[in-house]
């Protein structure tokens, strides 16, 4: 094996910046990364690229479609670390600093987008240990000595001259600093923390708060502005501090259980084994617990400590890695990703996934270990050669540095990648579809994958039984219902006015996990019912199962689903089945449904009765009922009906007379005609029809049939 040596001439503070780095290198064994104390520089060794790619081609092909992790396209590229170029990463702004010759020949800052990228020069006043912009690139802070930090204004029109702040505590060494806002900064020294406000116009700082505490090392979570300090001799008592609105609040401290208690006591908890990140909106401290390398070692585990805003910190989850070696942690889409260097694979854990066969809160990997999807980089350099094909990139390289939540940096190659999960390959790796659904429903870009899983279990090549289909539907609809309920209560709160504005609710966010009826209809069910290779029994069972699940969650079923059921039943001549469904009101009443039933009458006569019943129950469809009865020439029935519901006075006489005349039954015509004359008499005191009623031809017809004298006269009443 050929090893290449890369020297990064970085001083101690630089290592600090790369500390979490060392999260990767960290867990680390000595053979790849060694920190040469005396020289103050980091020596990184890594295998020459291509070393593993040829190792097992067959395995690669089989696994080709199973890589569920990948590096995002378009990485941030920067000048790789070298003897003249020091590289720093700021987790808060996600910026990479390439400092050439102490800044004299240029500092190039690359951020996640072009706006946050800057290039400038500064005087070389000694080797840079740490360099970070305040939030919004307003002020640059540079640490060059262990006693002080230098500041440069980046606000236009403000004086550009550097100014310096020494740490207040005597004999203290500055371990590093963190920006907590655009003008607030924390110095972390070996004796405590000092919290300053920066006044760029006055080129001065004001100490706001300080805390005295012995610090071994620190970790900072920019999202939550929580600083984690390692204290005590063993270093395993952690003190979290929260910074908000110019104040420091001490959160409750806690102790990490060490696998072995060293005697005599010495620093035993390395900062490289600890990371801090938010998962599902909660702050966790993740501790990578190694076990002694004995043959029966249970393997390493990641222990999660939940850090609530208030209250004590608790050990909450244990992730079983089932192996030993070097590991690094990322958080992607609320999943804990554990990279294992020697096997070049990664594991994912979902702390919300309940493991039935495990003790509470002990988790096994969700999926079998797989490597990150192979990645190719185009050979870049000063001269871009377009014809040259991209070459495979060395994954799990020991030059990789891993940062929270989802960042991987290769300083020696000059790349910053974001890690992301691919859901599609996971579908085939997780047998238990219920568990798969639980898992997918908590992912960010899950909609299309969930819908494709649904299609698969309904007679794709992974067809599952009805109980599985039922479970999957229930899980989907649970999420759907929760969203609907939240939305409803929000709407209700908004309508009740801003009187209780103090408890201003936020409109619930519709995540991709909300799969509603139209999604299911469009992407899954309508195509499914068209399938010729699936038995109609199964199709109907699935539709009914979906309707059952919706009902169980008290979700109003949309008409198009009923239509789908009816269409399928009619297609297979299952009218009696349809009849029974309607009899038990499984297909809820609606005018469109009633009309659909009417249209079925010619093939299935009872549909007529079903339709009329439905219109009756709707109680808003009296006009439709009259139309139906008239079309059946049930003129008297229609007349009696409209009278019973009190609509007789406003109804169009002409419509009834037309229908009565069409029957050819003269007595019927007589009866209807007289009935309307009586109505006219009662309403207007005159049996005659108004001109607006357009009944003239019927009056003439009546006279022809029964003679003038048969007409009701005003005087005769």
């Amino acid at each position: 094996m050929v090893w290449k040596r890369v020297h990064m001439k970085v001083r101690q503070s630089a290592i600090r910046t790369f500390s979490s780095v060392c999260c990767y290198t960290s867990f680390t064994t000595v053979e790849t990364v060694s920190y040469c104390e005396g020289e103050g520089r980091l020596v990184v060794r890594f295998p020459v690229s291509g070393q593993t790619s040829g190792a097992e081609p067959a395995r690669c092909v089989r696994m080709a479609n199973e890589h569920y992790l990948e590096l995002k396209e378009n990485p941030v590229q920067f000048e790789h670390a070298s003897s003249v170029n020091n590289v720093f990463f700021d987790e808060a702004n996600k910026q990479v600093f390439a400092v050439r010759s102490g800044g004299a020949t240029g500092v190039v800052v690359k951020g996640p987008d072009d706006k946050s990228s800057v290039a400038f020069r500064m005087d070389d006043k000694g080797e840079v240990k740490c360099i970070k912009f305040s939030i919004g690139n307003k002020i640059l802070a540079v640490q060059r000595t262990s006693k002080s930090v230098d500041f440069i204004n980046f606000i236009p029109d403000y004086p550009h001259m550097e100014f310096t702040q020494e740490c207040k505590t005597k004999n203290a060494n500055v371990l590093g600093f963190c920006w907590t806002s655009w003008n607030e900064i924390v110095f972390i020294t070996d004796q405590g923390v000092e919290f300053y406000q920066v006044f760029p116009d006055k080129r001065s700082l004001k100490l706001q708060k300080s805390q005295n505490i012995n610090v071994n090392w620190y970790q900072y979570c920019p999202e939550t502005a929580v600083l984690l300090l390692s204290t005590t001799v063993q270093g395993n008592v952690l003190q979290p501090l929260a910074f908000r609105n110019g104040t420091i609040s001490k959160m409750s401290k806690f102790e990490i259980e060490l696998p072995v208690i060293p005697k005599p006591a010495k620093l035993s908890l390395s900062e490289r084994d600890v990371a801090i990140a938010t998962i599902y909106g909660q702050l966790y401290v993740m501790y990578l617990k190694h076990h002694s390398r004995t043959p029966n070692s249970p393997g390493a585990e990641v222990v999660l400590y939940h850090l609530p805003r208030e209250g004590p910190c608790k050990k909450s989850h244990v992730l079983k890695l089932n192996t030993t070696g070097k590991f690094a942690l990322n958080i992607v889409d609320n999943l804990v990703v554990v990279h294992h260097q020697s096997s070049q694979t990664s594991l994912i854990f979902d702390i919300k996934l309940k493991e039935p066969d495990c003790a509470v809160n002990t988790h096994q990997p969700v999926l079998p270990a797989r490597s990150i999807h192979p990645y190719r980089v185009s050979l870049s350099g000063p001269v871009v050669v377009p014809s040259q094909p991209p070459v495979p990139c060395q994954l799990y390289s020991s030059s990789w540095s891993v940062f929270q939540p989802d960042i991987i940096i290769s300083a020696s190659e000059g790349y910053l990648w974001y890690l992301q999960v691919k859901l599609a390959p996971m579908v085939h790796l997780l047998e238990d579809k219920g568990k798969l659904m639980d898992f997918l429903l908590r992912r960010r870009d899950c909609k299309l994958v969930i819908l494709s899983v649904c299609s698969q279990i309904l007679g794709g090549h992974e067809e599952a039984g009805l109980p599985v289909v039922a479970t999957v539907f229930d899980k989907l609809n649970q999420v759907y219902k929760d969203y609907l309920e939240a939305d409803q209560s929000y709407t209700a709160a908004m309508e009740s006015g801003p009187s209780r504005g103090s408890t201003a609710q936020k409109r619930p966010v519709r995540t991709q996990a909300v799969i509603d009826q139209s999604d299911m209809y469009t992407h899954v069910l309508s195509a499914f019912t068209e399938r010729r290779d699936v038995s109609h029994k199964f199709i109907i069972a699935v539709l009914m199962e979906y309707i059952r699940s919706l009902n169980q969650n008290q979700i109003t079923v949309q008409h198009y689903l009923y239509e789908l059921v009816i269409k399928t039943l009619v297609q297979h001549n299952l009218f009696y089945m349809l009849h029974q469904f309607l009899q038990y009101h499984v297909l809820s009443d609606s005018k469109p449904l009633a009309c659909l039933l009417l249209s079925l009458e010619s093939t299935y006569p009872p549909a007529h009765q079903l339709s009329l019943d439905m219109l009756k129950r709707l109680s808003t469809a009296n006009d439709e009922i009259v139309e139906v009865l008239l079309s059946k020439q049930q003129v008297l029935g229609a007349l009696r009906f409209i009278r019973s519901v009190g609509g007789h006075d406003n109804v169009s006489a002409r419509k009834f007379l037309d229908a009565a005349r069409q029957t050819g039954d003269q007595m019927l015509f007589y009866t209807v005609f007289r009935s309307f004359q009586q109505r006219n008499q009662r309403l207007r005191g005159n049996p005659a029809f108004n001109p607006g009623e357009h009944c003239e031809e019927h009056v003439v017809h009546f006279q022809q049939l029964f003679g003038e004298q048969a007409l009701m006269k005003p005087s005769t009443v």
Partner: protein, 480 residues
């Protein structure tokens, strides 16, 4: 059957006799067309003890009447013959096969003084053609359910086989006919549906679908609760007769021992540690019995190409019963029955208690069940749904009604009137006993109401019925 009449004539009791079966026979005139071969026509004759020549005479008479009436209307020959003492019903279910049932008219025996034999008064007009005509048709349908058509037996084994089958079936079946309690409900041959909320109904759907998927041998399933139908995978006409069999024969046979406290269905020793109450009503009574036979009754239902023969498995847990039908060409094994028992037993037990709970909740919501003021019978021709507050629970032996037979006869008469015309109509009758009887026909539905309001007038009765429709039938379209 003897009934003591409320009337007392001069201190001496009158005896009233209800209608009863005199004879029942099946013949085919084409089987013995020549003189001297008449006996060959007769395929079945009850009572069998009747002398041969009398049988031949009676069959000949029926044949003659049918032939004679054909001259007036070739397509609709006589359906019944009224005589003073009895009434005969003719039915031709298959070409040239005739079923005849002779029913003795109800009669009153008045004892005479001074030792003379009592005088007998036949009540010729008391029994209804529609009711007993329906009974004969039902006899045929029931035979067909278990044996398929006469024609099929002929094809399979000639006259001998047919005679054998008829003998075997009707010998037992005729004993279960209770002619004295036949009424309008026999005319309808309806199905009583169990009222159920949508959610529970969907759960049952889900259960049925999942069982049919797991045990793919099952072709059709029917689900009943409390002897009322909830789901039928069979077509309506087949379900109608199967329902009749289940509710008048199979269930009563099994519920009576249950009521008597014997044969407790609780089975604590069940696989999977799940206590369930499931048991087979047809087939093996005890799965654990090494001698158990896995034979189930076979039934015939209509299919696209003639008839389909099926095993009928009836499985019950508490008040819920599921009928599973499996193609008769498959042999059912112990293994299958055990699988079915372990799959269906626990689920059906759970469903039964769900339904029971839901039913009690619904009852509570709709208010405490009051003894309905109205006695009514409702029937819908479209889905064969029937509902009666007149009839008590049916048992194997009798079907009790809570009203006087005279009123039941009025209902039957109104029904005949309705059958004559196509249009919707309403008939209101004031009975001799101060009862009002109202019959209503709207589209395909019929409703019969009996009101006990002595002094009510026609308008009040009409209003009363409207109110009943508004409360009991508010979710269906009923024309006034």
């Amino acid at each position: 059957m003897l009934m003591i009449s409320p009337k007392m004539a001069s201190g001496v009791q009158e005896k009233q006799y209800t209608p009863c079966l005199l004879s029942f026979f099946i013949y085919n005139p084409t089987f013995g067309p020549r003189e001297g071969e008449e006996e060959k026509k007769i395929l079945f004759y009850h009572p069998s003890a009747v002398e041969k020549n009398e049988k031949i005479r009676n069959v000949g008479l029926c044949e003659a009447i049918v032939q004679f009436t054909r001259t007036f209307c070739p397509t609709k020959p006589a359906k019944s013959l009224h005589t003073q003492k009895n009434r005969q019903f003719f039915f031709e279910p298959e070409e040239n096969f005739w079923m005849v049932m002779v029913v003795r008219n109800p009669m009153i025996e008045k004892p005479n003084k001074d030792g003379k034999p009592p005088t007998i008064e036949y009540q010729e007009e008391e029994i209804l053609d529609t009711v007993y005509g329906a009974v004969v048709r039902q006899c045929y349908c029931m035979y067909k359910l278990f044996n398929s058509t006469f024609g099929r037996a002929m094809e399979a084994g000639g006259v001998e086989l047919l005679i054998q089958k008829l003998e075997k079936f009707f010998y037992r079946y005729l004993q279960t006919l209770h002619l004295q309690s036949c009424d309008l409900l026999d005319v309808f041959g309806g199905i009583s549906f169990f009222p159920l909320d949508k959610m529970t109904y969907l759960k049952i759907q889900s259960f049925v679908n999942q069982v049919e998927e797991r045990l793919s041998l099952i072709k059709y399933t029917a689900f009943l609760y409390n002897d009322q139908l909830i789901w039928s995978g069979l077509e309506q006409d087949d379900m109608r007769i199967l329902y009749k069999y289940l509710t008048t024969s199979l269930f009563p046979r099994h519920s009576e021992p249950e009521l008597a406290g014997r044969d407790s269905p609780l089975r604590p020793e069940v696989a999977g540690n799940l206590l369930h109450y499931g048991r087979f009503l047809t087939g093996p009574t005890n799965l654990k019995d090494p001698e158990a036979k896995f034979r189930f009754p076979k039934i015939f239902i209509s299919a696209v190409d003639g008839y389909e023969e099926l095993h009928l498995i009836v499985y019950k847990a508490m008040s819920a019963a599921a009928c599973f039908m499996i193609s008769a060409s498959v042999e059912l094994t112990r293994q299958f029955c055990e699988q079915l028992d372990s799959l269906v037993g626990p689920q059906l037990t759970l469903l039964a208690s769900d339904i029971c709970e839901q039913f009690t909740i619904n009852r509570r919501i709709s208010g405490p069940e009051k003894e309905p003021q109205f006695k009514f019978i409702y029937f819908n021709h479209m889905n064969l749904a029937e509902k009666s507050t007149i009839h008590m629970r049916k048992t194997a032996s009798v079907c009790l009604t809570s009203v006087h037979p005279d009123l039941m006869k009025i209902l039957g008469d109104i029904n005949c009137d309705f059958a004559r015309v196509d249009e919707d109509e309403e008939i209101i009758v004031k009975a001799m006993t101060d009862y009002w009887v109202v019959g209503k026909k709207s589209d395909q539905r019929e409703l019969y109401v009996i009101l006990n309001q002595k002094n009510a007038n026609l308008i009040e009765v009409n209003e009363e019925v409207k109110r009943l429709c508004a409360t009991q039938f508010n979710n269906i379209f009923f024309l006034d």
